[in-house]
């Protein structure tokens, strides 16, 4: 599989950019950064075809469905798009999920099975909370490493946090991502750091609160490390470090080949 782009069609870049805003619910990372999206094509009828893949054949169907649905919604918001067709490949439920999406069905009705009696919105919410906690932890950890006191951290408001001079590019990105999700959570006022329920954080229990956030991060990282490793092992991709990625393409550079051609029966074997 290679990334197909209609030459000179700037709309493909728009699609990539909107896909970059879709995250894997469990990892809280962009599906394009994770190299899940392998193909974007715009046809003559302004329909968008998106090919995507996951690290294993067994990845939980509810997450697969959720991501595909989020991709459809994100790309549909582009004004010129007439239809979005998402094609999940090499997954135990590829056919079921692709058909469900094409017919606009919900996860529940796609899997009319006793095991699928869950509401994807609840699932989304659960993982949004985890994403909030994880992003918050990254910012708090940065501030603690810079010798901020607990009180000073808890006194910070969003306005100050947004304008804080941060010398480290990754830390600045984490700060921006946190502020972005902070809008969905947090109670009244402009406090930078609240619990996911929007309550102020009690400085007396700060250590305990922080260790809760840490455990959330450990779980998320476990998935992240495994998913990357498994995806690489499965598709024999070059290691992402130092290699050009889809982000390079979005920035208007030359598209890179992100996956070896995959002819049907994939044996996950690297030669």
């Amino acid at each position: 599989m290679t990334v197909h782009v209609t030459p000179g069609d700037p709309r493909a870049a728009e699609v990539w950019a909107s896909l970059a805003s879709v995250t894997d619910p469990e990892l809280d990372e962009s599906v394009t950064e994770l190299r899940f999206v392998t193909q974007v094509e715009v046809d003559a009828e302004d329909r968008v075809h998106i090919g995507f893949r996951l690290p294993t054949y067994w990845c939980a169907a509810n997450f697969a469905f959720l991501m595909a649905d989020d991709m459809r919604v994100a790309v549909s918001s582009l004004p010129w798009v007439r239809q979005v067709l998402v094609d999940l490949r090499d997954h135990m439920y590829s056919d079921t999920i692709n058909e469900g999406l094409a017919k606009g069905r919900s996860f529940k009705s796609t899997f009319s099975d006793e095991a699928a009696n869950e509401d994807l919105d609840d699932l989304r919410r659960t993982f949004r909370i985890k994403a909030f906690q994880r992003r918050q932890e990254a910012v708090v950890r940065y501030l603690l490493d810079r010798d901020w006191t607990v009180q000073a951290i808890l006194d910070l408001d969003c306005t100050h946090l947004a304008t804080l001079a941060i010398d480290d590019a990754e830390a600045a990105r984490q700060r921006d991502r946190y502020l972005e999700i902070r809008r969905e959570f947090g109670g009244p006022g402009d406090m930078a750091f609240t619990t996911a329920q929007g309550e102020p954080i009690d400085p007396r229990n700060f250590a305990e609160y922080l260790s809760l956030l840490r455990r959330v991060r450990i779980n998320t990282e476990f998935n992240g490390h495994l998913c990357r490793g498994l995806l690489q092992a499965r598709y024999g991709d070059p290691a992402p470090d130092g290699e050009p990625t889809l982000a390079d393409f979005i920035a208007g550079r030359v598209a890179t080949q992100v996956a070896k051609s995959n002819t049907g029966g994939n044996d996950g074997c690297r030669k």
Partner: protein, 352 residues
Amino acid sequence: MFKTAEGEEIFIIDGHTHLWDGSKENQKNIHGGQFIDCFYGYHTALSPKEYVWPKEKFDKYGAETMYNDLFVEGYDDMAIFQPTYLKDFYVNGFNTTEQNAVLKEKYPDRFILNGAWDPRDGEAGIEALHELVEKYKIQGVKLYTAEWKGASKGWKLTDEWAQRYMAECVKLGVKNIHVHKGPTILPLNRDAFDVADIDDAATSFPELNFIVEHCGLPRLDDFCWIAVQEPNVYGGLAVALPFIHSRPDYFNQVISELLFWLGPDRLLYGSDYAIWSPKWMVEKFMAHELPDTIKKDKGVDLDLDAKRKILGLNAAKLYGIDVPAHKAKLSGTAPARAEEQTMAQVAEVLGD
């Protein structure tokens, strides 16, 4: 047996091993193929490069390769077989008690043979459990709550039949219940990994030990929470341990959480062979030191005493192994490791 620089012999029980047949001949369908492919993904993603096998070998490596990797090349003294039947995917099953028993019969002092059950088998399964106990004297079972069976895509320890099976385990003295609670095993949704049913089972059956394989990762927080409250809950380190090579900082975070919540007495080493080789994992684990900041922050340490317990003494307690007596027994049959190395060195010199 691992010898420290000071000459101390560390007795090692590998809590999680398999003798599987994932070969094409044994695959019933695409699921069987994808299952072993997925395992191979784990193997290649987290093993040091020099330990990566070709896929053909990985599919079916055979009994003697296993013996050699665990006890001759590797430092294991004993290994616990954790069966995985997967009869919907494999003609003869993937890794069954019957297949494992071949090695157990050949090397009785090396292996601990566990069985398995599935509450969806009803009365017939209860009978089969009795047979396992009679035939193999099993002291433990491996449970796979996410295994498919016909239309059913999984079960929970809280199910009525599961309760019956556990009550039967108490009666039969099968007191070690290993439950797979970890990543990527055929879930339709994430509920298949939920660790909450362990809580209920551990409270209802205080006579049983529940060893949560893979420590519930990626639900470490839920697992720790339950383990703190239930003294009969243990954590199996398979899948968490290999990170020691590729992501040591991450491993430090996981192991320090586990040491903080459960302490060193309730964690069990497991290689998950043949996904990973005990040789490199034990070497790295023995050489591993927690950074001072973590020791200070968490008030935990992975010192020699903790390593002894995790690598063998905790499992020995669960399975009633008298370590000094067993050491003596094995020394009569133990392969001469020094000689093996010399042969290897000779081969190297000769350029073989």
